[in-house]
Every structure is written in C-alpha cells, then in structure tokens.
C-alpha cells in the first residue's frame, strides 16, 4: 500500500482552476519528484497535502486515512512536514527558535526534541554555529538548511520539499541535494518539487511531470531522464 495517495484532486483559487484532477502515489521510503513549469500546480499539490488549501473534490489519503477534513495544524501530527516555497522562515526569530517551532506539536517530549535538534545540527553544522542568530540574517544557503532542518524537527515520516534549490549557487545545490539523499537514507519518504529537473531526476526514484494542473507524464526517474519530451522541455536539450 502506498504511504500517500492522491486521487483526482481538484483545487480552485477563487475562480482559477489550479489543479485539474491530479492523481499520484508515493511509496514508503521513496523520493518522488514533481516537475513542471511555473504555475503548473506543483506547490499547490504540496499545499494541499499539508492542508493549507482544501480540495473541491478528490481525495488525499495517508496511511489509508483521508486528510481532506483535517486542518493544516493537525496534519503535522500525522508525520507530514513541509519546507515550503520561499522557505517562509520566521525571520525575526533566532535559528534555535525556528527549530523549536518545527517541533511545536511534540514539545512535551523534551528528550526527543533535543535529539532531533542534535541530528539537524549534525546534518547542517552551520546551523549550530549560528543558532542564536536571527533567521533573517542568514545567507540563502543557510536559510534553506534551516527550512529543511525546521521541517525535520517534526520528526516526519513524509517530508515535502518545495524548491530547495531556489536561488542557490550550483555548488550549494549539490550539497543540499546530497543532504536530501542522506535524510532519505535515514528512512524519511520525500516528495520533492523542483525547477532544477536534472538534479531532481538524478536524486529521485520516480517522477511526475505537471502541466497546467494536470499530470502529463510519470515514471521512474531513469525513464524520464531518457524521455525525449522531458529532455526537450525540462532539461534544455534539443
């Protein structure tokens, strides 16, 4: 059984039909990437899984239970956390406070929260050096580390990453993607939304390509890397 199953998802922003029947599934332990141009509906799909937007129709189920009626702030408790588009850090709060908020739903479990914090610092030693600094004063790469670290503080089974490479220098992208693989190897299932299709396909097990609110292609990452249409449209080849 899939960990996450999205069936025929329709989402509207006012009158704009943003998702026109998205169906996808994510198995336990996988990295699944969603590719596509701006406005194709990638971020909306992640926002829907996290409960920030509610579907007009269709179903999102996680471990066999529907998430449709569960408010956003409850969904984290089910083990789904997200590092959202644009990072959305709490810029006037310190790095440490941002991390603490990542674990907001399980703060009573102090020992386990501190354990997660230690693991985040092991993964991103830069954050340890800057733990008392305000999040807004970090560099772009550090901010991305913090966004991912904050999401990890919820001890998720399913981690949603929205454009972790956005605005980063190529060398940083490489290191962030290596960290994502490391997180996955520790047993966290990942859904990765990316503009950087080549890097994402090299990392992921499977991929879905979105076009204007619909899925136009899907398959294993290797297949898609070789696919003519993907190469032309998303990998910049002729």
């Amino acid at each position: 059984m899939a960990l996450l199953e999205v069936e025929d998802l329709h989402i509207y922003y006012g009158n704009v039909h943003a998702l026109k029947g998205i169906s996808l599934d994510v198995g336990e332990g996988e990295i699944v990437t969603l590719l596509g141009a701006n406005g194709a509906g990638k971020s909306t799909t992640l926002r829907a899984i996290s409960g920030l937007v509610k579907p007009r129709s269709g179903n999102i189920s996680y471990r066999g239970g529907s998430l449709n009626e569960i408010p956003a702030h409850e969904i984290v408790r089910h083990g789904i956390s997200q590092a959202p588009e644009g990072r959305r850090l709490f810029s006037t709060l310190t790095v440490d406070e941002n991390l603490t908020l990542g674990a907001y739903v399980r703060l009573r479990d102090k020992a386990s929260v501190e354990d997660s914090r230690k693991r985040v610092f092991d993964l991103f030693p830069r954050l340890l050096e800057r733990r008392n600094q305000l999040a807004g004063t970090l560099s772009g790469g550090e901010q991305q580390m913090l966004a991912i670290g904050r999401a990890l503080m919820a001890a998720p089974q399913l981690l949603l990453l929205d454009e972790p490479s956005l605005g980063l220098a190529p060398i940083l992208v490489k290191s962030i993607f290596a960290k994502i693989r490391e997180i996955n190897e520790q047993g966290v299932t990942i859904v990765l939304v990316e503009q950087n299709a080549r890097a994402a396909l090299k990392l992921a097990h499977r991929a879905y390509v979105l076009e204007t609110g619909r899925i136009s292609l899907s398959g294993s990452a290797q297949e898609l890397l070789k696919d003519e249409r993907v190469r032309k449209a998303y990998l910049g080849e002729k």
Partner: protein
Amino acid sequence: MEQLLQQLVNGITVGSVYALVALGYTMVYGILRLINFAHGEMFMLGSYFALTLIVSTRVGVLQLVPNVLLGLLLVFLFSMGLVSTVGVVVERVAYRPLRRSTRLAPIVSALGASLFIQNAVMLTYGTQYQVFPEGLLPTTVWRVFGVEVTLMRVIVLAISLGLMAALYAFVQKTPLGTAIRATALDHDAARLMGIDVDRIILTVFLIGPALGAAGGIMVGLYYRQINFTMGWTYGLKAFTAAIMGGIGNIPGAMVGGLLLGILETLGAGYISTGWKDAFAFVILIAILILRPTGLLGERVAEKT
C-alpha cells in the same frame, strides 16, 4: 530640578498605563493586521467592573476581605477575567465572521462593537460620572529626593511594570509566546508548524483586554472619577503610543506608552496644561513624518 523629577515620576505613572493599553492594540494588530477600535472599551469596562465589585453591592469585595491589598488583588483578577471574556466574545461576534473579508470591514465592525459597549454601559450606569469611594488606600506619601511619591502611584507603577515584565517573559520565553510571535510573522508557515492560529488569536484576545482592563482599574482608583466615554480618550492615547513605538511591536508599545506619558506631562508642566492632549498628537504627527514605522517598528513590514 525637583520639579523636573516630580514631572518625570508623574509622566512615568501615566505612561505605564498608556503602555498597558497600547499592548492590546499592538498584539491584535500584530496577529490580525486589525486596529481593534473596541479596545478602549475594554479599558473602560475594567474600570466599571472594578467599581461595581468595590461599591455597588451592599457588601463590596473590600468589605468581605479584611486586607485591602488582597481585596484589591481580587478586584483586579475578577475584572480582568470578565473583560477577557468580553474580548473573546467581541472577537467571535465582530471579527471572526469577517476574517476573510476586506480589511475595511472589520474596522467598521470594531467601531460598531465599541459603540455597542459604550452604550450598554451608559444604559446600565447612566451618563453621569461614577465615583470610586474615598480612602480605599492609606494616603501615605514618601519624599524621595524632594519628589512626592504616593502609595497609589507606587501601586500603579508596580502593577503595570510587573504586568509588562510578565508579558515580555511570556512572549519571549514560552512556547506559546514564541508561537504568537511566529504567527504574527506568517500565518501559513505557523500552520505548517502545527500552530492552531485560531487558538493564538483567542490567546491574544484574552491577554490584550485583560491588560487594558488593568489600566482602566488603575485609572479609576487613581483619579476616582470614571465615565463611559473614558475608553475613547485613553484608547486614542494608547493607540498613539502603539503607533509611536511601531504598531505590532510589543516592546515598542511599552516604550511608546512611557514616552508619551513623559512628554505629555513635561509639556503640560512646562508649556501649558490646556494643550496637554495636543502634545500627544503633535508628537504622533512628528513621528509619522520622521519615522513612519514607529520608533521600534522597522521589523513590521506590510504583508503582501
């Protein structure tokens, strides 16, 4: 020199009350980007509830409790609790249904709530001034460096500075306080952390009115005369203080309140008493021109 010190002490006393009330404006604005125009009425209600507890029943609280200070403490707790309840009801009835509407609608609704509460109090208590009983507290006066300090003034300062310190510690050090600061910055990101934004809003509408009520009770005890329109005058001053400090910024409201109290008292003492209220607004205008975000307000960018 002694006169200056005396004015400063007076100014800080008045200013600390402004600051308490300003906190309610600033906290609600921080979370909802809404100017809660009904907040002045919370201040006024605090005063009326306290008066009622003290005198209007045959046996007021102060007759039941032998120790005056303990009695006053009970008066504060009861009145603040009642006003918090009113604050939460106002949020439910006047603001929550308009959460997703344009920004103007809740402001009109706030003015409506303000008028409603004012008129409710007027119909209950009448239009005349209500008077707190004389001699509730011993009129002890200390002289420190030639400055006269009354017991009442010490109590006002102790309570307001104490409440502000407690609020600051709560917002800075506790998980719920941190969640309040996070929600003020970004509602959706807060939801992703598992923060129930409705609960945060509720918390803010419990704390703000309680602090406002404390201010109202102290003004009642201090000046002894209260009126159903007092929420408007003090509310406007406190709102000015919140803007001065940078609305949405909690330490800003504290600084703004104290500063406004001091400047106003100095202006009244050295220039002209008649122009006392005008000083507040001259200062406000000057700050809005020179520093539109307020003294500590640079952090509060307009949400797009």
